[in-house]
Amino acid sequence: MSLVTTLLEQCGIQASLAQGDDFQKWLINEAWNKYKDSRMNKRIVIENQVKDLNIKLSNGTVRKDYTASFSLSKDVVTDFWIDGCDQLGLKCDISEENECTISGKPSQPGDFKLKLSYKYDGMIDGEEPLSIELPIAFNPNPRSLWKDIPTDKNVIFYKDDCVCEYVKVEEKEETGPRKDIVAASQRGRSHAQEGKARDDHFKLVHCEDSDWYIIAVADGAGSAKYSRKGSEIACETVVAHCLEKLKDSAAFEEKIRAYKNAEDEETARKQMANIIYDIIGNAAFKAHKAINEASKANENSKPKDFATTLMFAICKKFDFGWFIASYWVGDGAMCLYNEKKGTSKLLGIPDEGEYSGQTRFLTMPEIFKDATAVFERLRFSIEDDFTSLMLMTDGVSDPMFETENNLNDFEKWKEFWNKLKTGFAEDEIGGVDLSDDNEESKTQLLKWLSFWSPGNHDDRTIAILY
């Protein structure tokens, strides 16, 4: 008799030894399976509970400080650990209270999975711990992704990827220190990435005989295929026209003096406006026409393929102060900045639409539809003195000022002026030494233009009369 057959007999069941053995096997197997099912069900319940916690690790950026944390209730999970952190340059700390913090500087970009293994209350020695995969993603550092592909020199209307220029107007005994012009133009990273040409342009002239300064800055539309030529034609045309008109500027200067001393301001202003219209307004219109001509000369192109903005100014120092006149169509900024007086005067209104990238161009017919349309874009001003006259494309003004309100805020211009001088220490970009006759400042300014600003990678051009 075996233990099993004895037990069976007590229940009134007669069984042979072999039957007893078989019954024992059957019973134990059956019960074991049931036991295993019940353990498994418990595991599934716990597994689902953990899944439902929906643990999400936020995305990180390569080589930038990363932290993510979550906690697991002790009611569900008694003990847990995470595998896979080391390889990613991360570490994982788990507190007594089951709070887990993953931190460090991610070493590589991509989508990865960490393995969270855990034990739960009622687990028995020998049971495998449960686990769940936690997706974790690291973005590349955008700065590391930029490429700088030189523009193909054989491309039609090729222009250099960056230029800078200094116009030194040397101090004379009878005049004392005189203002200089420095300008730089840098191809935007979005263009460099694709080996596309710079669309911006500038042109600077100081007329030695008449002492007039002429400065033009233009931003060719990114969407127009020959805009790089458009901006060039615009700058060259207006500067040539002004230079021609100002060669013998005696009559014009007389009007400026008359205006300055006028008792009847209204009449003098009108006379003056007419002359400015003749010089500046016509220069702009000439540029508009020159672009139309260029588009005709170039097969299969329309003027809008040459779409460009344009801003330019002429200025001269008189014994009574500075005279400045300007024209502006499109976005960007043109500002007369006076640090001592605490003023910043925007020489026009930037043309900006509801959405980014919308603006007006010199090439649009409505810009010259009548005299009023032209007059609206003209400005003139007489100043005792000023710190600087700045002309810049939206590649600079957008990241630096963001909104039209800021462009009208002296404090923001003061910040900008200081930023020019101090540079961007965090990005190892030095400032521009804007002292008189410092020709070095042109390369400093060009370097300064490569500042980093997320999402702002347009061509950047700035011209400063100071």
């Binding site: 999400k56 936020s58 995305n59 950026t61 970009p109 989508d111 997706p135 993603a137 973005n139 590349p140 955008p142 700065r143 992704l145 930029w146 990273r189 979005s190 990435q193 694709e194 931003d219 539309a221 990114g222 969407s223 127009a224 779409a307 900006e352 639409g353 509801e354 959405y355 980014s356 990238g357 919308q358 603006t359 957008d398 963001e402 909104t403 039209e404 309100n405 600003s453 997320p454 999402g455 702002n456 990678h457 347009d458």
Partner: protein, 212 residues
Amino acid sequence: MARRLPVYLLIDTSGSMKGEPIESVKVGIEAMLSTLRNDPYALETVSISIITYDKDVNQLIPLTPIDDLQMPEISTPDSGPTHMGAALEMLCEKVDKEVNKGSKEQKGDWMPLLFLMTDGKPSDIQAFNNVIPKVKNSNFATIVCCAAGPKAKTEELRLLSDKVYQIDTLDSASLMKFFKWVSGIIGEGNKSMGATEELVLPPPPEEVNVVI
């Protein structure tokens, strides 16, 4: 805040999408995200929103910068109608709320892009017809519609956009190519700075047929 390029994805999750089709869409979107994250300009500017539609319409993800975006679970009911009209209603509402327009105080976003995919046709045809003028007034830089699979209809989609494309099969290979192409369009959208005209699309892959 930097100006963003808002991208709206409208995904059909009606019953017929259950199984491989929706899984393929998910894989396709994931691949698209990964491509965009390796384009420095997209990484800094693109924000994505995902709206799904079946008998219900859900904005699974509000407009989120792609560096923060995490792929959500996308579920499909067993059967039921395709409320594309209602989805477009929600889209207009969200675009109105989420996309920044330029003013004196704030910089405007880039004009948004819309990608709509379906494996059928709108069941709420009246709502669909009513919402079309509204979508057209929402200033999308471009609207790309994708009719995927043998049952997809293109007539209605053509009321919405002239950029309607067809994919014959709803398998992962075709959808992967489709979304790769979409990433290209988004990347292009990023570069068309100063564009006031409509976006010029790169040529679609072979699997994608242009509907004329």
